[in-house]
């Protein structure tokens, strides 16, 4: 590659409204939802029959048969069947990683145009046979003699026939994400009131954005749903304050995390269209913004050294430093609300002199974030969080927000299972 990177423009996005699990999209598969989201994007930008450079996507809760989920969705969409696609996975950062991957290919001149996408269904979840039954079936498959077969079958017990449901527990700790975050929340002393206030702001801002038509060209109705169904415009500090704690009940600290300040299980899909400036000009599309850079981080949560969802706190300062930026240079902070307390612990960490010095190796804390600049159109607490679809939702929304407000720069941050985090800079 001899030429210097060219800008990767964000042209727009399309998603289906996010719906609470086991409701309206209960019978739609990941492939169904992703195909619909792609088709909405194709319709919006007149891409029917077009061969695009590549489509990237993925899902967190994935059936083993869906090895080529994104390619299958492309084949089922109105795009040219000659459009290649690939799947990737980085837990809840999957959608953002897919978008970043497409942006990097564009920057390197490998492709002119592509789509970053993500989808997740908590309803149409994969169900597996138990580990014991699987072991017996595989042993039977390997057996060559009757005696070997009988020996394998003799291991089977009635309880082995019970199916294995997907677990939200971390593979290495067995603790759910909520329980992990409850430990971090307690360690940082994040109050219930602050969490509820952040959740309330998320609902209010997203409701206002829907009201003023902000999502009209970002969302295509699906299966009779035209708005995110977990959004509660009528939430109040009192109604949120009345909810019982859902996580951290086994800890020594008073539990503060509720169903109201945690994201619900959700179904949905999102897509983002990116291209070179030349491709955009040729197609008469004005870019909304540019995906400039990205930085991933990971933490050692297994030993309890760091909180499971704290990786973005490490990625952001590295990303800013590489780009010669400080918080003062950022107009919008899009911090994925896995839990209200995740956002609040990240912000507390960046304000903490001790954390910034000891953990980040900085001379001074990054400083506070103006709440008016934080998630201006609401985030996952209001929209819901179909894991891999969240990155696409955020990138399309924040790009449009920059265009609409004339602001210059946004910082995007998403925490993910496995102690990971992915952050990105979007500029007008």
């Amino acid at each position: 590659m001899t030429q210097s990177p060219q800008p990767a423009a964000i042209l727009g996005g399309n998603r289906i409204p996010f719906a609470r699990a086991h409701k309206q999209y209960a019978r739609a598969s990941n492939q169904d939802m992703l195909t619909s989201a792609l088709d909405g994007l194709v319709a919006r930008f007149g891409l029917a029959g077009e061969r695009l450079g590549e489509v990237a996507g993925g899902a967190v809760l994935k059936h083993s048969r869906d090895l080529n989920l994104t390619r299958e969705a492309v084949l089922g969409s109105a795009l040219s069947p000659q459009t290649p696609a690939f799947d990737l996975g980085q837990a809840c950062a999957t959608g953002l990683e897919a978008t970043v991957s497409i942006a990097q290919k564009i920057r390197l001149g490998q492709i002119d145009v592509g789509i970053g996408s993500g989808v997740d269904s908590a309803s149409d979840a994969p169900i597996a046979v138990s580990e014991e039954l699987r072991g017996v079936l595989l042993e039977l498959n390997r057996a060559k003699t009757v005696a070997q077969r009988l020996k394998a079958i003799s291991r089977l017990r009635p309880s082995d026939l019970a199916p294995a449901l997907p677990s939200n527990g971390e593979a290495r700790t067995g603790l759910s994400m909520g329980e992990h975050q409850a430990i971090t929340t307690a360690a940082w002393g994040i109050s219930r009131q602050d969490q509820d206030a952040l959740a309330l702001a998320s609902h209010q801002r997203m409701a206002a954005a829907w009201e003023r038509g902000f999502f009209d060209d970002l969302v295509t109705p699906y299966l009779g749903v035209s708005r995110d169904t977990t959004l509660r415009a009528d939430s109040t500090q009192e109604s949120l304050g009345a909810l019982k704690p859902a996580f951290g009940r086994g800890l020594s600290a008073t539990p503060t995390m509720t169903a109201g300040n945690s994201t619900p299980l959700t179904d949905g899909a999102s897509t983002v269209l990116l291209s070179s400036e030349e491709w955009a000009a040729d197609h008469g599309i004005e870019p909304l913004a540019y995906l400039v850079d990205a930085e991933a981080a990971a933490v050692d949560f297994v030993t309890g050294t760091e909180g499971l969802l704290m990786a973005p706190a490490y990625a952001v300062p590295r990303l800013l430093a590489r780009n010669g930026l400080t918080f003062a240079d950022v107009d919008v902070f899009e911090i994925h609300e896995a839990f209200a307390s995740t956002v609040l612990t990240h912000m507390a960490a960046w304000e903490s002199e001790e954390f910034c010095r000891e953990k980040l190796g900085l001379d001074a804390p990054l400083g506070p974030i103006d709440r008016d600049k934080l998630n201006p159109n609401g985030s996952s607490l209001a929209a819901g969080h179909p894991f891999a679809a969240t990155g696409g939702r955020i990138i399309a929304s924040v790009a449009k927000h920059l265009k609409e407000t004339g602001q210059r720069r946004a910082l995007v941050s998403i925490c993910a299972a496995g102690g990971q985090g992915l952050t990105a800079i979007v500029e007008a």
Partner: protein, 287 residues
């Protein structure tokens, strides 16, 4: 192994009725006591099955917890020998400690030597220390001491010993949680060969005074060691068993690093009582 247990049961019943023949303890325990040796090849498939059961990655090295299972049958037959002065059945595994000097690799031919290292007094009865040494090509790889308590049994001539206080334990906040089911014990019994009925049969467990089937202590220990992800060639590992885990159970776990030492504690989240306390120590502190 079931046969060994049946023999152990038989000899234990006999010893309850009539004391074991009085032989000098030095003939039963100590450096000059008889050794049982066993030579076994660490079959990659067999070791892999064990690894899958206890959460160890399937690698080219053999976990020390698998080696333990290879010495266990010999130790059980030593404890149930006719001249052994205490009944084997009903003995409780109270502690285990070992040092790995160098790793054993799959495919290696391992010679396990097992002997009774010591029979000593204990406030609640008699403590038996079983030693096991694992060699490959004449080179010592692992040295192990397993401590068993024969409750309410007094043995003449037992070495006087002041048992250290149990490590005090106050349940901290958990960093992990493990779900254990009766199948956990079935699988561990299959891969370890330890088919003690207290792990596999509810009625048998009740007969020995447990509320129900209990998981193998060495399963809990093996899983704890797997959690630490020791990646140095040499390390030492100490385990103290407290209350048994009655199945099914969800247990709380805390992993904590402190310099060269990593501890893994497992307890009952309902009453805060410890099931097992363990620690791994490496030379340079980097697991």
């Amino acid at each position: 192994m079931l046969g060994t247990y049946l023999a152990a049961a038989g000899s234990s019943v006999l010893k309850r009725i009539r004391s074991a023949p009085a032989v000098p303890l030095a003939q039963v325990a100590g450096p000059d006591s008889p050794r049982r040796t066993k030579t076994v090849t660490a079959d990659p498939q067999t070791v892999a099955e064990f690894c899958r059961a206890v959460g160890e990655p399937v690698r080219s090295t053999v976990p020390v917890t698998w080696l333990h299972t290879q010495g266990f049958g010999a130790s059980l037959s030593l404890l149930s020998a006719p001249d052994f002065p205490a009944p084997a059945l009903g003995m409780v595994h109270v502690a285990n400690s070992l040092t790995q000097l160098r790793p054993v690799h799959v495919g290696d031919t391992v010679t396990a030597a097992v002997w009774i290292d010591q029979i000593r007094t204990h406030p609640k009865g008699t403590e038996v220390v079983v030693a096991a040494a694992f060699d490959v090509d004449g080179l010592r790889c692992v040295d192990e001491r397993s401590h068993y308590l024969a409750k309410g049994v007094e043995v003449d001539g037992a070495t006087p010993h002041t048992a250290g206080e149990r490590t005090p334990f106050e349940a901290p906040d958990a960093t992990m949680t493990w779900k254990l089911t009766p199948r956990t014990a079935d699988v561990y019994a299959r891969v370890s060969g330890d088919v003690n009925p207290i792990h596999l049969n509810g009625l048998a467990a009740k007969a020995f005074g447990f509320p129900g089937r209990i998981v193998h202590g060495m399963y809990t220990a093996a899983r704890a060691l797997a959690t630490v992800q020791v990646r140095t060639d040499s390390f030492s590992w100490d385990v103290e068993f407290a209350t048994p885990v009655v199945l099914p159970a969800t247990v709380s776990v805390r992993v904590a690093h402190d310099g060269a030492q990593t501890s893994v504690d497992v307890w009952n989240p309902r009453d805060g009582r410890p099931h097992m306390l363990s620690s791994v120590r490496t030379e340079n502190g980097r697991q």
